[in-house]
C-alpha cells in the first residue's frame, strides 16, 4: 500500500466571532496517498478552498493537525510554511495567478528563482516544463497574450517547477471552457502519472472527478468519502 502524503485530523476553522461567525471546517479528517489524484467536490461555500488553504499552509486551523510529507504543517511558523510551499507544496489557482508583467518562461522560473537554482539549470528546466505543457513556442509571451487555457498550463508548469510532492489546485478549470478544462485535467492527470506528484484538486467538473483516483465530498464544512 502507498504511504499517505497528506494526513488531516480533526480540523476546525471558523471565520469571525460570535453569532455571526462561520464554521467553515468542522472536524475534517482524511488522508491522501502519495502519487494519487484526489478530487474535492462540493457546492460553493462548502469549505473546499478553506480546506486547501489549510493543507497548503496558507491558512491555519483553529483546531486539528495537518501533516504533509511527514511535516506537521500546523506546527510550522510563517517561514516554515513558506519553506514548505517552496519545496514540497505547489498551488494552481482558479484565476491562474500568473505575474502579469512576466513572460510565460519567467513565470515558470519563479519557484526556481526562489530556490536559487543556477541560471543555466533554471532555463533548462523552464524549457522542459513549457514543453511538457505544450507551450514551448509561447515562452516569451506575457499572460495577457495567452488564452485562459494556456495561462492555466503555464500555472501548472510553474507549480511543477520546484518538483513539489503535493500540488494543490483550487478549481483549476473554473474559468475555462469544457474543452480547455479537459485538456488541463488531462495535463494534471499526466503529471500524476509521469512525475509521481500527489494532486489535491477542488472541482465541480464531473470529468475531473472521473480522472481522480478518489473523490472527497464536502458539505457544510465536513468531508465524506
Amino acid at each position: 500500500m502507498t504511504a499517505d502524503l497528506v494526513s488531516v485530523r480533526g480540523v476546525h476553522r471558523r471565520f469571525g466571532s460570535g453569532p455571526a461567525s462561520v464554521h467553515a471546517l468542522r472536524d475534517v479528517s482524511f488522508d491522501v496517498a502519495a502519487g494519487t489524484m484526489v478530487a474535492l467536490v462540493g457546492r460553493s461555500g462548502s469549505g473546499k478552498t478553506t480546506l486547501l488553504n489549510v493543507v497548503g499552509g496558507l491558512d491555519r486551523p483553529d483546531e486539528g493537525t495537518v501533516v504533509v510529507d511527514g511535516t506537521e504543517v500546523t506546527a510550522l511558523d510563517d517561514d516554515g510554511l513558506s519553506d514548505l510551499r517552496r519545496s514540497r507544496v505547489a498551488y494552481v489557482f482558479q484565476t491562474f495567478g500568473l505575474i502579469p508583467v512576466m513572460t510565460a518562461a519567467e513565470n515558470v522560473g519563479v519557484p526556481l528563482r526562489l530556490a536559487r537554482v543556477p541560471t543555466v539549470e533554471r532555463e533548462r528546466r523552464v524549457e522542459l516544463l513549457l514543453d511538457l505543457v505544450g507551450l514551448a513556442d509561447h515562452a516569451a509571451q506575457r499572460p495577457d497574450e495567452l488564452s485562459g487555457g494556456q495561462q492555466q498550463r503555464v500555472a501548472v508548469a510553474r507549480a511543477l517547477a520546484a518538483s513539489p510532492r503535493l500540488l494543490i489546485a483550487d478549481e483549476p478549470t473554473g474559468q475555462l471552457d469544457a474543452e480547455t478544462g479537459l485538456s488541463v485535467m488531462a495535463l494534471l492527470r499526466g503529471v500524476v502519472e509521469s512525475e509521481g506528484v500527489t494532486v489535491l484538486v477542488s472541482t465541480h467538473d464531473p470529468v475531473m472527478m472521473e480522472l481522480a483516483d478518489r473523490v472527497l465530498r464536502m458539505h457544510d464544512g465536513q468531508v465524506s468519502c
Partner: protein, 1056 residues
C-alpha cells in the same frame, strides 16, 4: 443620483478626504500668494513710506527773486500750498531764505577782488548747525536796532569776527538796492552734515574766494549772516531764494492717502503759481515722494510677477497631484461605473454626478482654504524676511484672496470632473496608440511653450519698468513641467536597463522588483508629480539662493567697499585717523564722482563715473564680484604707483617758514600752497598769504595741527607785487620745515599748465640743516602778461606720473570703443588729466553698470599736482574690513557725512518691504512641493498595493517569505522613485541655471549688475532630496509592510 453620491461619499470618505486635502492645499497656496501680492504688497508700500528717510518724502517749494515786502506772504502761501498738498498727512515745514548779495566793505581786499555777502534766515537753524561760540540770533527788538546774526566758523575766521562784533553790510547789488544795514554778530556756528547746507549759496563753506555768481568777474564771497527769519523779512532785503520744505508724517500712511498725495504733488506746481502770482519771478515745487512711492511700486510689480510665477508653479503641482488622485479614483470606481452603465446611466448623468461631486469638493475646499490661507499668510509674515521688513500682520480676509481660492478650488475640481467624464475609453490597443500619440504631441507642445516662455524671459528689457506679462509669469512653470515631462520619458529606458540586468540574477526579489518597476504601466500622473515636485522644490531652493546671492552681489558692487562715508563737507586733516579709530578697518580717501571724458559727458543723468581709492590696498578695500579668477588686489596693483610719496615729515605744531628772493626791478610775491598728506593718504592743502620775495622770512599758517603729516608738494603761484615788468625774474624760495630731515627721494619741480613756458628752469631740492629740512625751489619767471597770469612753480616729492593707469568698466569700453592700452583724457574739475587704460573690468565698485573709471587716488592726485592743481579729489572715506560690529554707528557719530555699509545695503535689497514677498513665497513653495510629492506617493502606493493585493497573496502562495515580499515591493517603488527624484532634481538644477537668473531683477526692476550668478546650494538641495526620499520611502515602507502583513488566504479567497 444625489442619494447615490451621498452613499458613495460615506463609503469612500478616505478617498474623498484625500481629494479634498489636495484641492485645499492648492487653493490655500493660491490664497496665500494672492494675499502676498495684494495685502502684503500694499502694506509694503505703506511701510516704505513710513520708513522713508525724511529727505525722500519732503516737498519743497522753490521761489526765486521775491521782493522784500512780499517775502513773508510768499512764505506763508507756499506753506499753505504744501501742507494742503500733503493732506491728510500732518506735515512740518521749514523755511530757508537767502537775500541777494550785498557788498561787504569791511572785508580785507585781496587780489584786488571785491567782497560780497548775503543774509540768510532759517526757521530751524539750531537743527542745522551747532554753536561754536556765542548764541543764536534773536529777533531785533526795535526798528533801529541792529540785526543779530550768526556766522559760520570759516567766515568768522576769514573776516576776523567774534560774538559782539558789529558789521556793516553794504547796499544790495540789485537794480533797486536796499540800503546798507548793520548786523551784530552774536554767535559762531558750525554746519551739520546732511542738514541742507548744499542749498546755501556757498554750500555752507562760509566763503568762496572765486565766487562767480552773476558777475562776469569772480568776487570774494563770505557768508551767510544768519539772522532771524522775521528780521530778514522785515529788513526789506530782496530775497534771492525762498524755500519752504514740508515733511509729512507718513507713519500711519495708507495706500489710498499716498495715492491722493502723489496726485496732489503733481499738481502743486500749478497751484503754487496760482497762489503766488507775480510776487515771485520763478516758482517751482519739487518732491522725491512720488519717485519714492513709484520705486516701491515698481519693486512691488517685479516681486508680484515672481510671486505669481511661483503661484502658477504651485497650482500646476496641485493640478498634477489632483490628476493623479482623479485617475486613482476613476480606477477604483471602474466596477461601479460599469455596473451603473449596465443599468442604463448615461454619460450626461455621469458628468452631472461628477460635476456635483466636484462642486461640493470645491466648495468645501474653498471654505477650508480661505481661513487656512489667512492663517498661513499671517504665519509667514511673522517669519523672516517679512517680519524683518515690518510686514507682520494678523489673519485677515481679502477679496482677491477669496477670488483666488474660489478660482483655484473650482479650477482644480474641474480637473476631477474632466477625468471622471473621460472614463469611456476605446479598446486597449487603440487607446494605447492614441494615448501615446497624444502624450508625444502634448510633450512637444509643452516643450515648445516652455522654449517660447524661456525666450520671453531672456528677452526681457534690461532696463527698469519692464512689465510682467502672462507668458513671463507662466514661463518658469512651463519650463519645469516640460523638463519633468521629458524626464519622465527618460525613466522607463533606465528601468528597462535595470530589468535586463536583473534577469541575470539567481534570486527572485531583485529581478521581480526590477521587472515590476520596468514593465508595469505606471501612472504617468504619479511620475509627473514626483518629477515636477522634486524639480519645483529644488528649483525653489536654487532660486532662493540665486536671488540672495544676487542681492549680496548687487550690494557689494553698489557700495564698492565694506563701509563708505560720503562726505558732507570738505575733509580736514586728522579725519582719516578718526575714521580709522572709529571703524578699525583699512581706511582710504576715495573719489566717487561724475566726470567728462574728453567731450563725452555720457547720457542724461548718467555721466561717466570716476572712482579712485588707494589701490595699493584694493584687496582690503574694494568689493564686488570680478570675472574669472581675478581679484581686486591684482587689479589694484596694476594701478598703484610703484613707490609711495616720500616728502618731508612735519611734526605736529611745527612752525613752517618761507623766505625768498627775486631778481629784477619789479617786486615779486608768491602765494604758497602746501600739500600735506596723512597716514591714510588724505591730502589737504594749506594756503598761505601772498608773501613778497624780499629776503625776509615769513611764518606760514599752522599747517600741521596733528601728527603724522608729510609735506608732499608745494605750489608757488608767482605774481608781480607791483607794476608789471615785462622782463623776467630769477626766483628762489626756501621753505623750512623744523625738526625733520629730508628723505632719500628727490624732489621734482615743474611749471604748471596752462602756460608752463612762463616759468623756465624750475628746480627743487631738499637738504638737511641743523634747523630742520629746507626745500629750495628756483625758477626764472617771465613777468609780462596779465597780472594774474599763471606762473606756478610746483615742487613735488614724487615724479610726474604721466598718464594715469586706469581700469575701465565694460560699458565704458563699449560706449567709447576703447581697449586696453588706449589713451584717455578726463577733466577733474577744470584740470585735464591724461589716462591710460590698463584693465577692462565688468564693473567698477560703487558704479554698477555705469561707464566708469577706476584709478589710484594717489596717482591721480600726483597727476593733478603736476598740473598745478593741489585740490585733492575726494568725496568719501572708504573702509575695508571694519573691525567693530558697530563701525557704521561709530562712523556716523563722527558727523562727517552719510554712512553706507555693504551689509546694510544687502539687507535693504533682500529685506526691503516690497521685495520680501519673493523669498516668502519661495519658503511657501518648497514645503508645498514636498507635501504634494509625499501626498502623491502615499496615494499612488496605497492604491497600487491595494490593486495588487491578490498578486502579493499569490506570491506568498508560491512560498515567498514576507520579508522577500517587502523587499520586492520596496525595491520596486524605490526603483521608480529614485530615478524620478534624480531626474526631477536634474530638471530643477537645469531650471536654476537657465531660468532663475532671468527671474531675478534689481530693486528698480532692471537686470541686476553684476550679472546674476546661478547658485545651486548643494547642502540645502541634498537635505531636501534626502528628506523627500526618506519621506517617500517611509510612506512606501509603511504601506508595503501593511500590505505584506495582509497578504494571506483571505485575498486568495477574494481572487478565486
Amino acid at each position: 443620483m444625489l442619494r447615490l453620491l451621498a452613499r458613495r461619499a460615506r463609503a469612500q470618505w478616505p478617498l474623498l478626504a484625500a481629494l479634498l486635502a489636495v484641492v485645499t492645499i492648492g487653493a490655500t497656496l493660491l490664497g496665500t500668494c494672492a494675499l502676498l501680492v495684494t495685502r502684503t504688497a500694499g502694506r509694503a508700500i505703506e511701510v516704505v513710506a513710513a520708513r522713508a528717510a525724511p529727505d525722500d518724502v519732503k516737498v519743497t517749494a522753490y521761489n526765486v527773486t521775491v521782493r522784500g515786502a512780499d517775502a513773508a506772504s510768499v512764505a506763508a502761501d507756499s506753506r499753505d500750498v504744501l501742507t494742503s498738498a500733503l493732506a491728510p498727512f500732518p506735515a512740518t515745514t521749514a523755511t530757508r531764505v537767502s537775500s541777494v548779495n550785498r557788498s561787504l566793505p569791511s572785508a580785507p581786499r585781496v587780489d584786488g577782488l571785491p567782497a560780497e555777502t548775503y543774509l540768510s534766515g532759517l526757521d530751524d537753524l539750531p537743527a542745522r548747525a551747532t554753536l561754536a561760540a556765542g548764541r543764536w540770533p534773536r529777533a531785533a527788538t526795535g526798528r533801529a536796532a541792529a540785526l543779530e546774526a550768526a556766522v559760520l566758523e570759516p567766515t568768522a575766521r576769514l573776516l576776523g569776527l567774534a560774538p559782539g562784533d558789529r558789521v556793516r553790510l553794504g547796499a544790495e547789488l540789485s537794480v533797486d538796492p536796499a540800503p546798507p544795514l548793520d548786523v551784530t554778530v552774536v554767535g559762531v556756528a558750525r554746519p551739520l552734515p546732511g542738514a541742507g547746507w548744499d542749498r546755501d549759496p556757498l554750500a555752507g563753506a562760509g566763503y568762496d574766494l572765486h565766487f562767480e555768481g552773476q558777475n562776469p568777474q569772480p568776487v570774494h564771497a563770505y557768508g551767510p549772516f544768519l539772522v532771524d527769519l522775521a528780521d530778514l523779512f522785515g529788513s526789506g532785503s530782496l530775497v534771492g531764494r525762498l524755500e519752504v520744505t514740508a515733511r509729512p508724517d507718513l507713519s500711519r500712511a495708507t495706500r489710498r492717502d499716498l495715492d491722493t498725495v502723489t496726485g496732489n504733488i503733481s499738481g502743486a506746481d500749478r497751484r503754487l503759481a496760482g497762489a503766488l502770482g507775480d510776487r515771485v519771478r520763478i516758482e517751482r515745487v519739487e518732491s522725491p515722494l512720488p519717485d519714492t512711492i513709484g520705486r516701491a511700486r515698481e519693486q512691488q510689480r517685479v516681486t508680484a510677477a515672481a510671486v505669481l510665477a511661483l503661484a502658477v508653479l504651485g497650482c500646476l503641482l496641485t493640478a498634477t497631484a489632483l490628476a493623479l488622485a482623479g485617475r486613482l479614483t476613476a480606477g477604483l470606481r471602474t466596477g461601479e461605473h460599469a455596473l451603473l452603465s449596465a443599468l442604463g446611466v448615461g454619460p450626461g448623468q455621469f458628468a452631472a454626478a461628477a460635476t456635483v461631486e466636484g462642486g461640493a469638493l470645491a466648495l468645501l475646499a474653498a471654505a477650508l482654504a480661505v481661513p487656512a490661507s489667512s492663517a498661513l499668510h499671517a504665519g509667514l509674515t511673522h517669519l523672516a524676511p517679512l517680519s524683518g521688513a515690518g510686514l507682520a500682520t494678523g489673519p485677515g480676509v481679502g477679496a482677491a484672496q477669496v477670488l483666488a481660492v474660489a478660482a483655484g478650488a473650482f479650477g482644480l475640481a474641474a480637473v476631477l470632473v474632466v477625468l471622471a467624464v473621460r472614463r469611456a475609453a476605446p479598446p486597449a490597443d487603440r487607446r494605447h496608440r492614441r494615448d501615446l500619440l497624444a502624450r508625444s504631441g502634448a510633450d512637444l507642445l509643452l516643450v515648445a511653450f516652455a522654449a517660447a516662455g524661456w525666450w520671453q524671459l531672456a528677452a526681457q528689457p534690461t532696463g527698469s519698468g519692464a512689465r510682467a506679462d502672462a507668458v513671463r509669469v507662466v514661463a518658469p512653470a512651463l519650463v519645469l513641467a516640460a523638463g519633468a515631462a521629458l524626464a519622465l520619458r527618460v525613466a522607463p529606458p533606465a528601468l528597462r536597463a535595470a530589468d535586463r540586468l536583473a534577469r541575470r540574477a539567481r534570486g527572485l526579489a531583485f529581478p521581480l522588483a526590477a521587472t515590476e518597476a520596468a514593465r508595469r504601466s505606471h501612472a504617468m500622473a504619479a511620475g509627473l508629480l514626483v518629477g515636477l515636485a522634486c524639480a519645483a522644490g529644488t528649483f525653489g531652493i536654487g532660486l532662493d539662493a540665486t536671488w540672495d546671492r544676487s542681492q549680496r552681489d548687487q550690494a557689494d558692487l553698489s557700495v564698492g567697499t565694506d563701509l563708505a562715508l560720503t562726505l558732507a563737507a570738505a575733509p580736514r586733516t586728522g579725519d582719516g585717523a578718526a575714521v580709522g579709530a572709529a571703524t578699525g578697518g583699512t581706511v582710504s580717501p576715495a573719489a566717487d564722482r561724475g566726470i567728462a571724458v574728453g567731450q563725452w559727458i555720457g547720457s542724461a543723468g548718467d555721466p561717466p563715473r570716476l572712482v579712485a581709492v588707494d589701490t595699493a590696498r584694493a584687496g582690503s578695500l574694494l568689493r564686488g564680484r570680478l570675472d574669472g579668477d581675478r581679484g581686486w588686489a591684482g587689479v589694484g596693483a596694476a594701478l598703484a604707483p610703484p613707490t609711495p610719496a616720500g616728502g618731508l615729515a612735519v611734526p605736529a605744531g611745527a612752525v613752517l617758514t618761507i623766505s625768498g628772493t627775486a631778481t629784477g626791478a619789479a617786486p615779486v610775491a608768491v602765494t604758497p600752497r602746501l600739500l600735506m598728506q596723512d597716514a591714510t593718504g588724505l591730502r589737504t592743502a594749506c594756503d598761505g598769504e601772498p608773501l613778497p620775495l624780499d629776503g625776509t622770512t615769513h611764518r606760514l599758517p599752522d599747517c600741521a595741527p596733528v601728527d603724522g603729516l608729510r609735506l608732499v608738494a608745494v605750489a608757488l603761484p608767482i605774481l608781480p607785487a607791483g607794476p608789471v615788468d615785462p622782463g623776467s625774474s630769477a626766483v628762489a624760495v626756501t621753505l623750512t620745515v623744523p625738526g625733520t630731515a629730508p628723505g632719500p627721494a628727490p624732489w621734482t619741480a615743474t611749471s604748471a599748465p596752462p602756460a608752463p613756458e612762463r616759468l623756465v628752469a624750475p628746480a627743487a631740492a631738499a637738504t638737511g640743516t641743523p634747523a630742520g629740512a629746507e626745500l629750495r625751489m628756483t625758477a626764472t619767471a617771465s613777468l609780462g602778461g596779465p597780472e594774474n597770469a599763471a606762473r606756478t612753480l610746483v615742487a613735488t616729492a614724487f615724479p610726474d606720473p604721466g598718464p594715469v593707469p586706469v581700469a575701465i568698466s565694460g560699458r565704458f569700453a563699449r560706449e567709447l570703443n576703447v581697449h586696453k592700452g588706449a589713451p584717455l583724457s578726463v577733466a577733474i574739475g577744470t584740470t585735464p588729466v591724461a589716462l591710460n587704460v590698463a584693465e577692462v573690468l565688468p564693473s567698477v565698485p560703487s558704479a554698477p553698470g555705469a561707464a566708469a573709471i577706476l584709478a589710484d587716488l594717489d596717482t591721480l592726485s600726483r597727476a593733478l599736482v603736476a598740473a598745478g592743481n593741489l585740490d585733492f579729489p575726494m568725496d568719501a572715506w572708504w573702509v575695508g574690513d571694519p573691525a567693530y560690529p558697530d563701525a557704521a554707528a561709530r562712523a556716523t557719530g563722527l558727523h562727517l557725512g552719510t554712512v553706507t555699509t555693504r551689509a546694510e545695503e544687502a539687507a535693504r535689497l533682500a529685506g526691503s518691504p516690497p521685495r520680501a514677498g519673493l523669498p516668502a513665497a519661495l519658503r511657501l513653495l518648497v514645503p508645498a512641493a514636498a507635501l504634494l510629492l509625499l501626498a502623491g506617493v502615499v496615494l499612488h502606493v496605497t492604491f497600487d498595493l491595494r490593486a495588487r493585493a491578490v498578486e502579493v497573496a499569490r506570491l506568498r502562495g508560491l512560498g515567498m517569505y514576507r520579508r522577500e515580499i517587502r523587499a520586492v515591493l520596496l525595491g520596486q517603488h524605490a526603483g521608480v522613485l529614485l530615478p524620478l527624484v534624480v531626474a526631477g532634481a536634474a530638471v530643477g538644477a537645469l531650471a536654476t541655471y537657465a531660468v532663475a537668473p532671468l527671474m531675478v531683477r534689481s530693486d528698480t526692476g532692471a537686470v541686476p549688475v553684476p550679472a546674476v550668478l546661478p547658485v545651486w546650494p548643494w547642502a540645502a538641495e541634498a537635505v531636501l532630496l534626502a528628506l523627500l526620499l526618506a519621506g517617500a520611502l517611509l510612506a512606501v515602507a509603511a504601506a508595503v509592510v501593511a500590505q505584506a502583513r495582509r497578504a494571506d488566504a483571505a485575498h486568495l479567497r477574494v481572487a478565486s
